[in-house]
């Protein structure tokens, strides 16, 4: 489509965040909203970013396009650093990096026609008015709106249609990477599916990288190739969507999955995760999830958790490649060098030679027989049955991990 897409470097991410940290100031106090996040997005790939509100998802999206300055770490787009927005004109090469905002009611100027709004990307790229007009009409076709919409104003359209206009507006710049901050949360049920399908089609057909930020794990699961789960400014689990969904390693991811109500008419209440996300101004020491964690040990309050890769155990239908979680209870850091911030007492560490540990019973592989030692439910997040018509809770998978 543009010069940006003519020079793809194979297997190199189009967007990469390395150790990205963002700090805000509140009452003279520094609040670290984002704390050392590593994330990559490749061309033609959809990466989902999920977490509760207040976990730093939107901050990450804004930092990735340079709307907020970084306190530490780097953000690179096509190998070049993304400079934070300042008084100077934004570098032309950054036009390939675009952000879709959450609220299509506020992100479109109500006084300009849809054609003008979409044509901006072409005009800023040095194109003429005629080129902008024809590109706008082409993009309206692309996002499934009639060409006559170009002469309308944003208020004439429904939420779903407005979000299509906002997406067309970002496409006018010929992006190689889109960042969508909750693009479908503000929409109606049927419009949600339409926009999710449109974004997927764009990524697959035009080779755009997409970072999809959403609090809704079930939406992300439908469209994303990879998922990163955030909690309080940090990524706690990352991996292929299928692997993370079917075998969440971090207890927080597990709780997120268990909290989704199922529309099967079974009358099963979703499992509750007690407590609220703590104030990022004073995050809990050690593992940031430990005050709400059902499997927390004493040393969780001391030991800083970093992402540790899960061993690749082939399971039918799922890929565990790149699956990593920041939980030393589930993923003991057997492979990490001794003494690196690991303040766990010796007794709670895996015994020497215990290469496999059952994720559910915390027994070692020598005592865990897959399918036998793990109790057949209820799991640690039991769905609350209310009536006899509830199906029995699903049996937790026995998942050996190191």
């Amino acid at each position: 489509m543009t010069a940006h897409q003519a020079s793809p470097v194979p297997d190199s991410p189009v967007l990469a965040l390395t150790g990205a940290a963002v700090e805000y100031r509140r009452h003279g106090q520094r609040v670290r909203a984002l704390d050392g996040v590593d994330l990559t997005v490749a061309r033609g790939e959809i990466v989902g970013l999920v977490g509760e509100s207040g976990c730093g998802k939107s901050t990450l999206a804004r930092a990735a396009v340079g709307l907020v300055p970084l306190a530490a770490g780097t953000v690179t787009f096509e190998g070049q650093p993304v400079a934070p927005l300042g008084m100077r004109r934004r570098a032309g090469r950054l036009r390939g990096l675009q952000l879709v905002f959450q609220d299509p009611y506020e992100s479109l100027n109500p006084r300009r026609t849809v054609g003008d709004l979409i044509g901006d990307g072409v005009l800023l790229g040095g194109g003429g008015k005629a080129a902008a007009r024809s590109r706008a009409l082409g993009l309206l076709d692309r996002v499934g709106l009639p060409r006559s919409a170009a002469d309308g104003y944003p208020h004439e359209f429904s939420g779903g249609q407005r979000q299509r206009i906002a997406i067309a507006r970002t496409l006018a710049a010929g992006p190689s990477c889109l960042i969508a901050d909750e693009p479908i949360s503000a929409l109606d049920a049927s419009a949600q599916a339409q926009i999710a399908n449109l974004l997927t089609a764009l990524v697959r057909e035009e080779g755009i990288g997409l970072l999809l930020v959403s609090h809704d794990l079930s939406v992300v699961r439908q469209v994303a190739d990879r998922v990163a789960v955030m909690y309080l400014g940090r990524v706690v689990e990352t991996g292929g969507t299928g692997g993370v969904w079917s075998g969440p390693a971090h207890p927080y991811t597990e709780a997120l999955v268990a909290a989704i109500p199922r529309a099967d008419g079974g009358g099963v209440l979703p499992a509750d995760l007690p407590g609220d996300v703590p104030d990022p101004a004073s995050p809990p020491p050690g593992c940031r999830f430990h005050p709400r964690c059902p499997i927390a040990r004493d040393d969780c309050a001391v030991t800083e958790q970093r992402l540790i890769p899960l061993p690749a155990i082939p399971q039918p239908g799922t890929s565990l490649a790149g699956h990593a979680a920041a939980c030393h209870v589930r993923v003991p850091r057997a492979s990490s060098p001794p003494g690196t911030g690991d303040a766990a007492p010796a007794s709670s560490r895996p015994a020497p030679g215990a290469d496999l540990l059952c994720g559910w019973s915390t027994r070692t592989s020598s005592t865990c027989l897959r399918g036998r030692c793990c109790p057949p439910g209820p799991s640690r997040f039991p769905p609350t049955a209310r009536s006899p018509r509830s199906p029995p809770p699903p049996r937790p998978a026995c998942r050996p991990v190191t």
């Binding site: 109606d188 049920a189 049927s190 268990a258 909290a259 199922r262 529309a263 008419g265 009358g267």
Partner: protein, 327 residues
């Protein structure tokens, strides 16, 4: 089981530029004591107008016909003092946006005790004691301190729990929850759903839950009414309705939402958009978006009648009934 609330032929007409248009059209529903009933549908389907009509809170100029009997008292006919005696006491409401529902410059203690003192005629200290108990019920940590705090000091999930506590303060017999969890995270939503379910069973309170999220519906409601463009499309027990929907619109809603059990299958959106109030199509209002529409759908306005082949009460407003063969 006797019916607590009986809504019959409720019609709400709102003034538009083109004259009065029906936002709710000939809706009848029944709620029994201790029962959770759901109303589902997209925005503009008349769910919220149905709820507001029970509280006399409709926009200025709205015309209401029909009846809504709560234990024999017609809520739609109440005015002035008699309406105030029922509202907040017998029926209470939890709205979608907890930030807008709680007055920002009043303390939680004031918000929780004002209507309690008015309705129940109890002293201030008694009301404060009850308020602290209520906050404990909805799991707000440190209730004594929370009573002296302001809504802005709480997170969204906690504010919604406080809004529920305000609604529950006078032990209403009917609670109307309008999209109670739409603005919340899934983990917080799970907590609110468990809370509503528990309160409903412990206090024998009836709940009408209004949402477009059929997952929430499945978890909470025993019976569901599906509305489209102000009219009833389908009504039946949740388990039947969600596992074997008979109306194409219910089927469409189920297919359009991502579900944990759907696997990696692509989402199937419902084509088109819901009609605006001034432009509801003739015949079946859903026919322009319906994949199963036949010629008669564009002319004859379907009435909700008992669906054939269903074991229990199950209303369906779709005469061609295309999903019956598939079901």
């Amino acid at each position: 089981m006797t019916a607590l609330l009986e809504v019959e032929n409720l019609t709400v007409a709102l003034p538009t530029r083109a004259g009065y248009r029906n936002a709710v059209d000939d809706l009848s529903l029944t709620v029994h004591a201790g029962e959770v009933v759901g109303i589902a549908g997209e925005s503009g389907s008349g769910k919220t107008m149905t709820a507001l009509s029970l509280f006399g809170l409709l926009p200025h100029g709205a015309r209401v016909t029909g009846s809504a009997r709560l234990d024999g008292t017609d809520l739609l006919a109440l005015r002035g003092r008699r309406l105030r005696d029922v509202r907040g006491r017998q029926v209470a409401m939890v709205s979608q946006d907890p930030t807008a529902a709680l007055h920002p410059i009043l303390t939680i203690g004031t918000l929780l005790t004002e209507h309690m003192r008015h309705h129940l005629g109890i002293s201030k200290s008694e009301a404060l004691d009850r308020a602290a108990e209520l906050l404990d019920t909805v799991r707000i940590p440190d209730p004594a301190r929370a009573l002296h705090s302001y809504p802005g000091q709480f997170s969204g999930g906690m504010r919604q729990r406080i809004a529920i506590a305000v609604a529950l303060a006078c032990e209403p017999r009917l609670l109307v929850a309008d999209e109670p969890t739409t603005a919340l995270d899934v983990t917080v939503q799970a907590g609110i759903l468990q809370l509503l379910d528990r309160l409903c069973r412990e206090r024998d309170m009836a709940v009408i839950v209004i949402t477009h999220d059929l997952g929430v519906m499945s978890a909470l409601a025993r019976r569901v009414y599906v509305m489209y463009a102000g009219r009833l499309a389908e009504a039946g027990p949740t388990s039947r309705l969600l596992s074997r929907p008979r109306h194409p619109y219910t089927r469409g809603l189920l297919d359009a939402l991502p579900h944990p059990e759907a696997g990696g299958a692509a989402l199937v959106p419902i084509g088109g958009t819901p009609p605006s109030l001034g432009a509801v199509p003739g015949g079946c209002p859903f026919h322009p978006r319906c994949a199963h529409a036949v010629a008669s759908c564009a002319t004859a306005r379907p009435e909700a009648v008992q669906a054939s082949g269903e074991p229990g009460p199950h209303l369906l407003a779709c005469p061609p009934d295309p999903l019956r063969v598939l079901a």
